[in-house]
Structures are given as C-alpha cells and as structure tokens.
C-alpha cells in the first residue's frame, strides 16, 4: 500500500511524499494512482512540464534542480522525459503547493501547468 502525505517544501524534493516507494528516485505519480480507491483518496493536483522548442535542455535541468532541490540525475531524467515524450509529471500535491511550484517554474519561463490528478 502506498500512503501519500504532505511533507512541505523540503530540500529533498517534493516527490518524496509517497511512503512505500523506498528506493525509487521519482514520484512516479502514475504508480501511486493505481493504488487506493477513487472514492477514498484525494488525488490532488499534478504539476506538468510540457515540451517546447525554445528552453535549452541544460537550462531545464537546472530549473528542476533549483525549484525542487532534486539531484542532477533526477532532474535530467524528467528533462529527458519532457524532451522525448512531450511532457513530464513532476510532482503531485495539494492545490496550494502545486500552484506554488507552477509559479516557480513559470518564473523561469518553463511551460508548466497544474492539472487535477485523476
């Protein structure tokens, strides 16, 4: 079972909020969504970064590190996902915190939005 909770904006990165996923480097929101019933779990909001042809890859990696406090390999993994798959789900949070992250990413002019998690 995966239990999700809100740990605040710690320097280890917002993705480390799901217990039961020890050893994984990414929030893997999709995995978390597969557990728990739709009726009993508040799915929250996901912060998504979308691909664009203007932001440089090294720049995007740096922004992920700066905003989420992620180590470089994790930031690179998400950057490559954006580049290759068109988008990457960065974190899942409550509305307020998800908005905060979107604001931070948009300060750097990354194409980031928040969407209701399904």
């Amino acid at each position: 079972m995966v239990i999700c909770t809100d740990l605040g904006l710690d320097s280890e990165g917002a993705g480390n909020y799901c217990f039961g996923m020890a050893g994984t480097a990414s929030p893997e929101v999709e995995q978390a969504q597969q557990t728990g019933s739709k009726d009993s779990v508040d799915h929250g909001y996901v912060v998504i970064c979308w691909n664009d042809p203007i932001n440089l890859m090294d720049y995007v990696t740096h922004v992920f590190q700066a905003v989420f406090g992620w180590p470089r390999p994790r930031a690179q993994k998400h950057m490559l996902q954006v580049h290759q798959e068109g988008k990457s789900v960065l974190v899942r949070e409550g509305l307020e915190k998800a908005e905060f992250y979107v604001h931070q990413l948009q300060k750097y002019h990354l194409h980031a939005t928040l969407e209701r998690a399904e």
Binding site: Y59, E99, H103, Q106, K107, H109, T113, R116
Partner: protein, 156 residues
Amino acid sequence: MKVYRRQKESFIYELLPQERQLLMFILRSFPLVPLSHHRLSQGGQLPDAEANQELLAEALAEQRLEQQQWVKEWLDATRFRPVKAGFHVTVTRDDFETLLQIINDVRVGSWLALGSPEADMEELLESKPESTTELHRMQLAGYFQMALLEGLNEGA
C-alpha cells in the same frame, strides 16, 4: 564569456569587450514575454480558475517589476571590472538565478516575437529576413545562458 573563478558564494566571469556590450544589450531588452503568456492550467478543471489565473498574473507582474529594478542596478558600469582580456563580473549565487530568469525572458520573448517557430531557424531567416534582430537576440540569450550555467560545472 567564460568562468574565471568559482567562489563559495559567487562566480567570476570573464567577458571580452564585445561580450559585455552584447550582455548589456540582452539585459536592456528585458522584459519581452507578455504577462498573459503563462496559463495556470490547460484542462480548465481548477477550482476558482479565473481567480487563480489572476493571482498568477499578479505574481508574475510583481516579479517583473522587481527584476526591472534589479536590471537597472545590475547594469551599473562599475560592476564590470576592466582586466587585460576585457572585463570581470562577479555574479553571486542569488544573482545567478535572477540573471538566468531575465536572460531566458529575453530568449523566450524573442522566440514568441518570431511566432514561436518549431522549424529550422535558418529557414526562418531566409523566409523572414526582417526577423534577424529577434533571431540573433534569441541565440545570444542562449549563449549567455549556457555560459552562466558553466559556472555550475565544477569539471569545466
């Protein structure tokens, strides 16, 4: 522009005289991205979507004012110290992030002014020769971004 020295709380970059002029040109171009450019959500399923979108616009407008003031102060000529090769400029860790954001505003804003092209830029230049300034500004901003980011690369 290259990293001259890394210090605990700052970086010193070395610029050729022409690079200094070009960096100042980029910074003076700020801001270029329209405040209405960013959307909070694509799906439109947020509670109070309109109010939240307004909050985002206000936050970005406030940040823009602060950054305009920052640029004004940062462009103070005494910041660039003349050296044999050109100039040295010290960028603190805090300034580093602001500088990156401002330079990327110019890059993204130039790209938007070009019509957000996905195609080959050379092709664009051939078809729209009047786009030269925006295209060069966009490319220059990218150059300074990469040069700045080199400061974080300890192995460089």
